[in-house]
Amino acid sequence: MKGWWWKLLSVVLLLYVVIVGLGTPLGPALVHASIDRIAPGPISLEATGYNTHFAANTPEVWLENDGQRVCATDVKVLSDVQFSADFNVPEGFRTNLTSLWAWDAADGQVVLREAFFTQGLGTGIAQDDCVVSDAARTSFAFPNRSILNETIRNLFFHVPMWFTMMVLMTIAFWQSLLVLRSGDLVADGKALSAVDVSLLFAALGLITGSIWARATWGGWWTSDPKLNGAAVTVLIYAAYLILRGSVPDPHKRARLAAIYNIFAYVLMMVFIMVLPRLTDSLHPGSGGNPAFNQYDLDSTLRAVFYPAVMGWILLGIWAYTLHQRTARLRSIYDEANDR
C-alpha cells in the first residue's frame, strides 16, 4: 500500500524520542553545598553533585567572585557525587555572592552559582596563581539546569502536543472553509474529526503542562497569558461541539459549525500569537522570557526535539484520518441499517 510510509515514520520517530529522550542522562551539575555563607579565614565545606564522576577523577575545586578565583587548598572525594574541600578565603571580594566551581576530566566544568553569601568585602583580592582546567565534557547528555532538572525531558512531550493541536485545528479550519464553499458534508465530518482529535492533544498538552508547572513553578495552574490562551482554545472548541449538538439539520449544522470554527480560529490565533507578547509571563517564549531555542535548546535537545515534533504531528494526523474514516463508515452503516 502506497502512502503509509509516514505512519511508519511517526512510529519510528516516537520510539526514538521515548528511548533517547528518556534514556539519555542529564549532564553533571553541582546541586548543593553544606554551607551558604563564607567569611575571610579557613573554611571547609561539602558539595553534592548530580550525575557527576568525582570518584574516578578527583576534581579541581575553586571559588569565583566577580571573575576572581580562589582555589581549594585540599579536596577529598567522598563518592561519585560528593567531595569535601578546604579553602583559605581571603579578605576583599568585590561582590557579596560567590560561586562554587569544580572541574574533572569526565564532567568538565560544573558550577553552583551564587552559592555563598560573602562577608569581608573590599576592592578585590590579590589574585593568587589559581589556574583551572576548562576542557569540556564529551559525553552525550541533556543540559542540567537548576529548577528544570530532569523535567527538561518534558520538552519532547509537552511542546509537540500544542504544535499537533495547532496543526489539527488548522486542518479543521481548512475543512470548514471547504464546507462554506461547497456545502460538502464529508468536509464537515473531517472538520469534526480534526477538532475531536485536536481536543485530545489539547488535553494531553494541559496535563503534561500542568505537571511541568507543578514541578518548576510550584502550582498546577497559574494565571498566565499562555495558559489563558490554552484554556480559551479548549473552551472555544468545546463550544463548537455544543453548537453542533444543538442543530439537528445536518446541512445547517455543517454551515453554522463552519462559520463558528472560522471565526473562532482566526480570533484565537491572533490572541495566542499577540497577547502573550504584550504581557509578563512565566512561560518561556513570551513577555521577555526567552523560549527554549534562544539558549536552552542546545544541540542535544534539538536532536530529540525536532524528531519529537515531527513524530507527534504525524501521529496526530494519523489519528485524525482513522477517526474520520471510522466516523464515515459508521454513518454509512447507520444509513444502510436505517437508523
Binding site: 480559551v232 454551515r255 453554522l256 462559520i259 471565526f263
Partner: protein, 222 residues
C-alpha cells in the same frame, strides 16, 4: 450605493428601537439593577483592581443581554423580507455598527451609574482620557464580537443560552486585554504603556468586523 443601503438599514434599526422603547429601557434597567445588586453586596469599593474587574464583568453581562436580542427580535417572515431587499453584508455591517454605537453609549452610561453607586475614588488618579477611550473601545468591541455570535445563536434556534456558550470563550481574550488596559489607565499610566493595548483592541475590533463581513452571507443563506 452600498453606503446608502447601510445608512438606510441603520435608520431602520433606529426607528425599530424608537418604536420599541422598552428595548432601551430593559438594557438600562438591566445594567442599573445589576450595579445596584453589586452595591448591596459590596457598598463602596476603593481597591482599583477589584473595582475595575467588577465593572468589566457587569459590562460583559450587559453586552450579552443587550446583544442577545439583536437577531431575535424579528420574526422569520420579516427577516426574509429584509434579506430580499438588502445584501446580507449590508445587513450585518449596519447591525454591527448600530450595536457598536449602542454598546459604546451603554458602556458610558454604565460607567456613570457604576461610579455613582460603587464609588469613583479609583478614578481619582486615572488618566481619564485613556480610561474613557478604553471603556468605549471595549464596549464597542464586545458588541462587534457578539453581533455575529448572536446571529449564529439565533440561526441555531437556541437563543441566549447558546449565545453565552459560544460567546464567552471568544470574548474572553478581549475581556482580559480590556481589563488590563483600563487597569493601567486607572493607575495613571500614559500612552506609552497603555497605547499598545488600545491599539491591540482596535485591531481585534477590525478583524472581527472583517470576519463578520466575510462570513455573514453564508449564515444568512438557507
Amino acid at each position: 450605493m452600498r453606503t446608502a443601503e447601510i445608512a438606510h438599514l441603520l435608520k431602520l434599526e433606529w426607528q425599530l428601537d424608537r418604536r420599541q422603547k422598552h428595548a432601551w429601557g430593559s438594557m438600562a434597567l438591566y445594567v442599573v439593577s445589576t450595579i445596584y445588586v453589586c452595591y448591596q453586596g459590596v457598598r463602596h469599593l476603593f481597591d482599583i483592581p477589584i473595582w475595575n474587574a467588577l465593572f468589566w464583568i457587569i459590562l460583559l453581562f450587559a453586552a450579552f443581554n443587550a446583544l442577545g436580542r439583536s437577531f431575535q427580535r424579528e420574526n422569520t417572515g420579516r427577516q426574509l423580507y429584509l434579506y430580499t431587499l438588502a445584501s446580507p453584508r449590508s445587513v450585518v455591517l449596519a447591525r454591527t455598527i448600530y450595536n457598536g454605537i449602542t454598546m459604546g453609549v451603554l458602556s458610558l452610561l454604565s460607567l456613570g451609574a457604576y461610579a455613582l453607586f460603587i464609588g469613583s475614588s479609583p478614578m481619582n488618579d486615572a488618566r481619564l482620557d485613556i480610561f474613557l477611550l478604553v471603556v468605549i473601545v471595549g464596549g464597542i468591541g464586545f458588541a462587534l464580537v457578539l453581533t455575529l455570535i448572536s446571529a449564529l445563536a439565533a440561526r441555531a434556534g437556541n437563543g441566549v443560552g447558546l449565545m453565552a456558550i459560544l460567546g464567552f470563550p471568544i470574548v474572553l481574550p478581549m475581556l482580559l486585554s480590556v481589563m488590563k488596559a483600563s487597569k493601567l489607565a486607572l493607575d495613571g499610566l500614559g500612552w506609552d504603556i497603555t497605547g499598545k493595548y488600545v491599539l491591540w483592541l482596535v485591531l481585534i475590533d477590525l478583524i472581527t468586523v472583517a470576519l463578520a463581513w466575510l462570513l455573514f452571507p453564508y449564515l444568512w443563506r438557507d
